[in-house]
């Protein structure tokens, strides 16, 4: 009997991909994919779905004698509220650069951290701040009060008549 052609391939002349190698690589890829997806799933945890910060809306009563152009800074909120002949408006006092609280000055606002200066309407005059201070939505709360929403910005110049 002559040897048949169904001899096992020699080490020097292997199959293109051995069956075991194929199965091994396949399972390795499957394990890798599973771990990858598990990793993405785990990464969802540190991103909070609900933010614990307090409500962004608050009600405020302005002092009777608030001159036009002078800000009222309600304690506990990073907002300056103004009243002039056109109505009431609120400007954020959080510096758009790195989040320090700006102070009201005669010329507008100044930031203590890196020296940004803002005009009375919140636009940047000097310093590293990349954006103007945002204006917040103000609504008439009745009885001489106003409701300021720090979560909603409005175009600069939006004022509310009582």
């Amino acid at each position: 009997m002559t040897p048949t052609t169904s001899q096992p391939p020699s080490r020097l002349d292997p199959e293109p991909v051995a069956r075991r190698d194929f199965l091994g690589l396949g399972s390795l890829a499957a394990a890798g994919a599973a771990l990858l997806f598990a990793g993405f799933g785990i990464l969802r945890l540190p991103k909070a779905a609900v933010l614990t910060s307090p409500s962004k809306k608050f009600r405020v009563a302005l002092p009777e004698s608030l001159p036009a152009g002078q800000g009222f800074f309600p304690p506990g909120h990073s907002v300056a509220i103004f009243r002039d002949d056109d109505g009431v408006y609120a400007i954020s006092t959080i510096c758009t650069h790195l989040g320090c609280i700006v102070k009201g000055t005669a010329e507008g606002f100044s930031c203590p951290c890196h020296g940004s200066l803002f005009a009375p309407d919140g636009s940047v005059v000097k310093g590293p701040a990349p954006r103007a201070l945002p204006w917040f939505q103000v609504a008439d709360g009745g009885g001489g009060t106003y409701i300021v929403d720090e979560g909603a910005t409005v175009p600069a110049g939006t004022k509310v008549k009582a």
């Binding site: 909070a48 910060s53 304690p75 990073s78 951290c113 890196h114 020296g115 590293p128 990349p130 954006r131």
Partner: protein, 545 residues
Amino acid sequence: MSSEPTPKTALRVFAENLRAAPGEIYRSLFRGGRPVTDRSRSTFVFNNVFLHLHAVRTHLWSLRWRTTLGLGTAALAAFLVTLVTGVLLMFYYKPYPDAAYQSIKDIHFVVPTGRFIRNIHRWAANIMVITVILHMARVFYTAAYRQARQFNWLIGIVLLATTLGLSFTGYLLPWDQLAYWAITIGANIAQSPREVTDALGITQSFDPGGLQRQLLLGSDVVGEEALIRFDLLHVMVLPLLLTGLLAVHFWRIRKDGGLARPDDADERVGREKGTGTFCAQHPKGRSGKRCLSPFPDRPAPSRTYPVFTEAPAKTYQLAAIVRGRTAWVSRSPEKTVPSMPHLFYAELAVLMLTVLVCLGLALVADAPLKELANPDVPENPAKAPWYFLGLQELVSFSAFMGGTVIPAIALLGLGLIPFLDREESGTGRWFGGPGGWRLVLQAAIFGTAATLAVEAIAIRYGWLREWFPGIPQLVITFINPGTILTALYAVYSLWIVRHYNSTRAGALGLFTCFLCGFVLLTVIGTYFRGPNWAFYWSPADWPKH
């Protein structure tokens, strides 16, 4: 009659074992015997999981103090000090707003030795940052990052970043004004990609900055969520990461063939007798001399020498599979000494010195604690820890470039060094390579001058927004003192590469420039910036209010 001894009863065996137990326990603890011969010293290192991160034998070149200045060991020592004191502080620290501040006050004023331990922790953390930076400079200037050591250099860069991360996260924990506003600034730097996305008007749909900030703070304000996250990072995630990477870092030193040394290190440690190297007369030496004893003029102790007359208990079979120029093939092992005791005693000395410095500083200077954090009123000036003040100086021009892009470029550039400079000359020598220390001096002068010039212009004349009101933000983001300085350094280094026709020379120039820039900006941020980040020659000139 049978002469067979009567079999012992199990009870008797038990009593004998009990009697022998102390000796057996001792022998199982010190399996190789006392480390008095070369062989027992080798097994002493080899059979200990912690010590075996070292090689069994150490080249004399590595033991010269000016090879390393002990900086890496000092950084490790400082880390160990922060570990011990940090665990002690955790006995009393409560990671919750206001309670955190009160507990730090308790540690400072009530807890026995609390203030001292906190001071040590603070100082050791500072010393760790300094020594890590200096250690990196040492490795760079001795060109010890090359072939076979590139991977360890990368590990080192990650260790540097982790060290800075540990310091930064520790900064928030006291929950005082200093902490609160430093973290507010830090979190907003994480958010600073918005500077670009806002200018492009795509923040609504693509906001990586906001995501980074929210992941860091766990909220949109610096509050209890932020504190617990920073606490977790500080006491668990980053220390574990650092410990794991440190083990790899040390083990790689051994695998990469010990510390980098010049090709002629063997001859040089032999020649320089009486200058800190170890020389002793020995009849077997090729040149009639062998340099092995720490005491030049005394005969070597007989039980340690000669070195290789004892049959080795362990042969280095692994040498066959170690790649590169790591195995000591065709090199004489004679310029090496057993790591126990020579290397370990040197390391112990550095450890003790570091602890001594920490204790001394902790005795004379208290760690600061300001008022309770007040979200309504920022510190003025609000300053980050000193090693971030250089960054804060850059950030005061543009948050995105100064706080994100330029540090990323610096870290990336550092990581790329061993892959861009693949020359061979100068390895293991201080300021080795074309140009040498003259080039480093020249680069230091250029780096200092460029930094001072750009800073002086920005301080004296302001910047683009003052000159052209209404200029688009993107222009300021990409053209500001920080980016101009980075560009100046880069152009200068490219010129050096061309002038010396050497990548190593360019690397020397660039690294020196960045080091000068880092130091100068840190000094300006620390001593010359006052309220509103305005320039003052001295804190005495700060406005009083």
